[in-house]
């Protein structure tokens, strides 16, 4: 038998930490707030360390009557969120310094969002899931609109708020229907009750929930919000949004899909429809990314495409599919983080995020250039970078289910994506970028860049350890 507090330590720690940061931010004078970043970093590291330990040695438990799961799957995602948060905090130091006000709250909100994500990953029950989701989203509403003076930022905030709220309303409506049908909100129970018969109501509920989560993972056609929000939001926030919130939504989606949707007898149409959605997501995301001129917007569309790849894994299902998804989700963190770190750097030093602002980056900051290149190529799935292995897992899983078409689209699309990734690389290497300032990289930012790149390369060259973790996590679901 185990004791709840040991299992919930990360969540509790995070809650305490974020609240105390809030308090500290209020108490200590503005001058002394430099210390908050290191504080956040080290405490996050501690939590991350504990979670890692938890992953390998922690107990397997579902408690509060199945309300809250503590399986390796959940812990895997917690690790992911914490890592993402850590990297974002590290890379955002300089950026936050430039913020006009509310520097203290920034970190605490970030941690709040993280906490929400962890709840989502652990939720074994729809209301809990919803609460976690809202905790994450609401924190993000604020973070997105953090640059109060910047009209674009606040516009993004409002848009996100309205659309997010609408989507969660729809999600909730679906949940309520499910509750009505099964009299429960616990996934396992729902699964057992729903199994087999497909009534209009359950179908409606399913679709609503799918849509609600699809919104968060920006699955086409629920994706329209994400480019605008990504573009408007402060770059570190965009990074966190793109990486972690998406991963959290996926964590939920996997659970829900496996337990409820999978348990009903979808017709072939249903399956194909999901495949079509995934395919459209990959295609649209990559195609629209091509003409983009803003790096954040480009990454937004690319991350839409990435969601499509991940969907392929989910639909393929089975341990191999899920393994692929969560493996990819993890490497996606590092790949994207590298790119966003550079974007943050540019935003911090040049106050803008147009691709043309990257001109001559090779001269101005070789390290950043290399990191950016590596990250983008990893996103494109070029070996020996991690992205290749990830895509390989996903698509081979899909092909194993006999879905050659989707895998084929995936491969071709990821090769096409190389086109716009390379056009960024081209600007960095080729253009002279006269008159643009030097962008020295050091401290936390440098660490972030080097670290992400090393991880990306390392996993690409030797994916076994992460693959093992992913398999363990995936197995804990079945």
């Amino acid at each position: 038998m185990f004791n709840i507090t040991t299992v919930l330590t990360p969540e509790i720690a995070l809650a305490v930490l974020s609240l105390s940061l809030l308090a500290i931010g209020l108490l200590i004078p503005a001058g002394a707030r430099k210390g908050m970043m290191p504080l956040t970093v080290f405490s996050l590291m501690g939590v991350l360390g504990y979670t890692l330990y938890d992953f390998f040695y922690g107990p397997e438990a579902a408690f509060l009557g199945g309300l809250y799961m503590h399986d390796q799957f959940a812990v895997y995602f917690k690790i992911l969120f914490l890592a993402a948060a850590l990297l974002v905090v590290l890379s955002s130091g300089g950026y936050v310094q430039k913020l006009p006000k509310h520097r203290g709250e920034f970190y605490s909100l970030l941690l709040m969002a993280t906490l929400g994500m962890m709840l989502m990953a652990g939720a074994g029950e729809l209301i809990t899931m919803y609460v976690g989701l809202e905790l994450m989203t609401i924190s993000f509403y604020i973070l997105v609109a953090y640059l109060a003076e910047d009209a674009r930022s606040s516009e993004a905030g409002v848009k996100y708020l309205i659309l997010g709220a609408t989507s969660s309303a729809i999600l909730l409506y679906g949940i309520s229907l499910i509750y009505g049908l099964t009299g429960s909100t616990e996934l396992l129970e729902i699964a057992s009750k729903l199994s087999g018969n497909l009534t209009p109501a359950s179908l409606l509920a399913t679709v609503f929930i799918l849509a609600g989560l699809g919104f968060k993972i920006s699955l086409v056609p629920f994706h329209l919000w994400s480019p605008d929000i990504y573009e408007g939001a402060p770059t570190p926030v965009t990074a966190f949004l793109a990486i972690a919130s998406k991963a959290a939504a996926f964590a939920v989606l996997i659970r829900v899909y496996l337990l409820t949707m999978n348990s009903q007898t979808f017709s072939a149409t249903g399956q194909t429809l999901l495949f079509v959605l995934a395919a459209i997501t990959m295609i649209v995301g990559n195609l629209i990314a091509i003409p983009q001129t803003n790096i954040k917007r480009l990454l937004a569309f690319s991350s839409i495409a990435q969601a499509g790849y991940l969907m392929v894994g989910i639909i393929a299902g089975g341990i191999s599919g899920i393994k692929g998804v969560i493996f990819y989700a993890m490497i996606y963190v590092f790949a994207n983080m590298g790119a966003f770190a550079v974007a943050t750097l540019v935003a911090e030093k040049q106050g803008s995020s147009e691709i043309k602002d990257l001109s001559g980056f090779w001269h101005r900051s070789p390290l950043a250039t290399v990191v950016m290149t590596a990250s983008l190529l990893s996103l494109a799935g070029i070996p020996p970078l991690a992205g290749f292995v990830g895509k390989f897992y996903l698509f081979s899983a899909a092909m194993d289910q006999g879905n050659v078409a989707i895998a084929y689209i995936g491969f071709v699309m990821s090769m096409i994506s190389v086109y716009y990734y390379l056009s960024v690389v081209k600007v960095m290497f080729l253009a002279e970028g006269d008159g643009l300032p030097e962008v020295p990289v050091h401290g936390a930012m440098k660490f972030t860049m080097v670290f992400t790149m090393l991880i990306t390369i390392a996993i690409g060259l030797y994916p076994t350890p992460l693959a093992k973790m992913a398999i363990a996590a995936a197995q804990s679901l079945f």
């Binding site: 659309l163 679709v207 056609p221 149409t269 429809l273």
Partner: protein, 648 residues
């Protein structure tokens, strides 16, 4: 005694190797020093000559045996699944004769070049090429199998290319070299195919093995396929000689090849390389023999045609070297049709004699040109006899020899060819040959009279060439005079070099008389026209201006080819290039364009209006629901309330 001879024959590989060595030495070591280079090269070729003579004598001594059992040395060269090739040397009368001729002429030419090429800045390069040529030519002669022969065959082609284009700054030389290479390549295409088919059918390219295989399997349809197959192979193989020995459709390169230095023309384009085709046919004679008779018929016909065709052109040419070139073509035609009428002996005999007197005349022409400071138009010359007695005399010997005047070398060989033509039942060929003999005598003596007789021209101040040039002339002249005597019964050339059962052809004095008369007639006509002016060449030309134009322009063959190349080949090339850029590549670029374009279009869906987003979102939900619901009509009655009520 054949034994120790055989030991001697084993060293035959040295003959090509020494010149090759000198090539390497010149190319990598001594190219700076002209004197050293030329010395090395000449020494090499002279030692090859002596070796060749030794081997020749050895062959003569070992007599019949070696005719039946050539002395062959083979080493494995390539050995993989489905392809085993040896390299080696074959010594038999045929190769021995060729070795002697080649080494002799080559050494003469190299000595001659000391004078002729004196002061040229490419002197060492010239000798390097000469050595390379000598070695590859000799290697070809010694080849034991078709592939080996083909390899050296191509190498002599390369040397010819390099030497024709020796003065590469001359655009004409450059073009001529290119033309020579490409034209012969067309022939080689056929030869290559023939080789491949031969190997496929018989599993070997070795001459001896091939002839054995053919003799044994000739009836065996399973192995050979139909006789037609062998005939096809024969024709394919023959394409090579057509290119190399300038037979009719592919003859165009040889006259242009005269752009090279004159000694080169003497060596390569008169005496040795151009007869390689003849040599090949002789080597592969069993193939043509086993093929359908029409193959040999064809060869005879083509040879005869080439002979008269080229001779007729030669009449109307003004450039001294071109006249000689066309005469070479015509003589090659002679050799070909000699083979065609089935007389290997006669053909080889003529090959030898022709090598002597044609080399002689070319070198003579060279010394004239040298004296005339590189003027080549015969009408700008005249009365050179007095100024250049040695050149004149030797040249005259050459003319007599080629005109078939006894007792000069040409008489014997040409007579033997004509005799065979008649005896083996080719009267037409014989007639053509006879008429060609007449034409030959005519244009050759025309050349001689115009250049050496007649009034001197004031503007040029000729003088006899240095010894280095005249001595080779004299030596060659000697052979042109006495070279023919080997045909006499006591020397009995034919008993060594022949195909099938050897039967000696006594010299038919009657026929000989006729051809001699033809030759003398030709000379006489030329004398009457150009010395006595009894007949006015201008009038004749004016009278038959059409024919004259035709002959002067070489029947417009070059023009035709040029038109084909420039309009058909290059035109096709341009069309295909267009196709490649705008169709093949166009598709690629088109796809890229579509991709980018669709991106541009699709991005418009992000209108920035959040209410639009919301609507899209919700209606997407509805549509998805509909698709799910009605996808396969799995929900017939859609009455949510009722079904929800169901739980009541």
């Amino acid at each position: 005694m054949f034994k120790e001879m055989h030991d001697l024959f084993q060293w035959a590989w040295l003959i090509p190797f020494l010149p090759f060595l000198s090539f390497l030495i010149i190319a990598f070591v001594t190219k700076r020093s002209k004197r050293l280079s030329s010395t090395i090269s000449i020494l090499a070729i002279l030692s090859s000559l002596s070796l060749a003579v030794a081997i020749g004598l050895g062959v003569i001594q070992s007599g019949e045996k070696i005719v039946e059992h050539p002395a062959i040395v083979n080493v494995n060269w390539l050995n993989i699944v489905g392809l085993q090739i040896d390299f080696g040397t074959i010594v038999d009368p045929l190769s021995a004769m060729m070795l002697f001729v080649v080494t002799l002429v080559a050494s003469m030419v190299q000595i001659y070049s000391l004078g002729y090429m004196h002061g040229d800045e490419g002197f060492s390069r010239y000798y390097a090429y000469q050595s390379l040529f000598a070695s590859s030519m000799l290697g070809m002669v010694l080849a034991t199998n078709l592939l080996q022969l083909f390899i050296f065959w191509e190498l002599v082609g390369l040397c010819s290319y390099l030497l024709i284009g020796f003065w590469f700054f001359k655009v004409s030389a450059r073009e001529a070299a290119k033309k020579a290479f490409i034209t012969t390549r067309v022939g080689d295409f056929g030869l290559l195919l023939g080789m491949l088919f031969l190997y496929v059918k018989f599993g070997t390219l070795d001459f001896v093995a091939l002839s054995v295989a053919m003799n044994t399997n000739i009836q065996d349809v399973a192995v050979i396929g139909t006789a037609g197959y062998v005939t096809v192979m024969a024709f394919l193989v023959f394409m090579g000689p057509v290119g190399k020995s300038g037979q009719f459709p592919l003859h165009v390169w040889l006259p242009d090849a005269m752009e090279g230095p004159t000694p080169v023309s003497a060596l390569i384009h008169a005496a040795t390389m151009v007869v390689a085709g003849v040599y090949l046919v002789a080597r592969m004679f069993f193939l043509f023999d086993h093929a359908d008779p029409m193959a040999l018929q064809f060869i005879a016909g083509l040879g005869a045609f080439t002979a008269i065709f080229a001779a007729s052109i030669a009449i109307a040419q003004d450039d001294i070297k071109r006249i000689l070139a066309y005469s070479t073509l015509s003589q090659l035609g002679y050799m070909m049709f000699a083979l065609g009428v089935g007389s290997l002996t006669a053909s080889m005999f003529h090959l030898m004699t022709h090598a002597f007197f044609k080399a002689l005349m070319f070198l003579g022409a060279g010394s004239v040109i040298y004296a005339m400071h590189h003027k080549q138009d015969i009408w700008e010359m005249g009365g050179l006899w007095k100024k250049m007695p040695i050149t004149g005399t030797t040249f005259f010997i050459g003319v007599l020899a080629i005109s078939g005047v006894p007792p000069f070398a040409g008489f014997w060989s040409k007579d033997e060819i004509l005799a065979h033509a008649l005896h083996n039942g080719h009267p037409i060929i014989y007639g053509v040959g006879l008429f060609t003999a007449f034409l030959t005598a005519f244009y050759m003596s025309r050349l001689f009279f115009v250049v050496f007789m007649g009034p001197e021209k004031k503007e040029n101040h000729p003088h006899e060439s240095p010894w280095s040039m005249t001595i080779p002339l004299m030596i060659l002249a000697f052979f042109s005079v006495f070279g023919g005597f080997v045909a006499l019964p006591e020397h009995n050339f034919a008993s060594y070099i022949h195909y099938g059962t050897f039967h000696h052809e006594p010299i038919a004095w009657g026929l000989a008389g006729i051809s001699v008369v033809a030759g003398l007639l030709g000379i006489g006509l030329a004398y009457a026209t150009y010395i006595k002016k009894a007949i006015s060449a201008e009038k004749v030309a004016a009278q038959y201006s059409g024919i004259y134009k035709l002959l002067k322009n070489k029947y417009y063959v070059d023009e035709l080819y040029l038109w084909l190349i420039h309009h058909i080949m290059d035109g096709l090339a341009k069309i295909l290039y267009w196709f490649d850029i705008y169709i093949v590549d166009g598709v690629v670029n088109g796809l890229a364009l579509i991709t980018r374009g669709s991106g541009r279009v699709l991005r418009r869906t992000n209108t920035g209006q959040l209410q639009t987003y919301a609507m899209v979102f919700f209606f997407a939900v509805v549509i998805i629901f509909m698709v799910f619901a009605f996808g396969e009509g799995q929900l017939s009655a859609l009455n949510p309330l009722a079904t929800l009520g169901g739980v009541k």
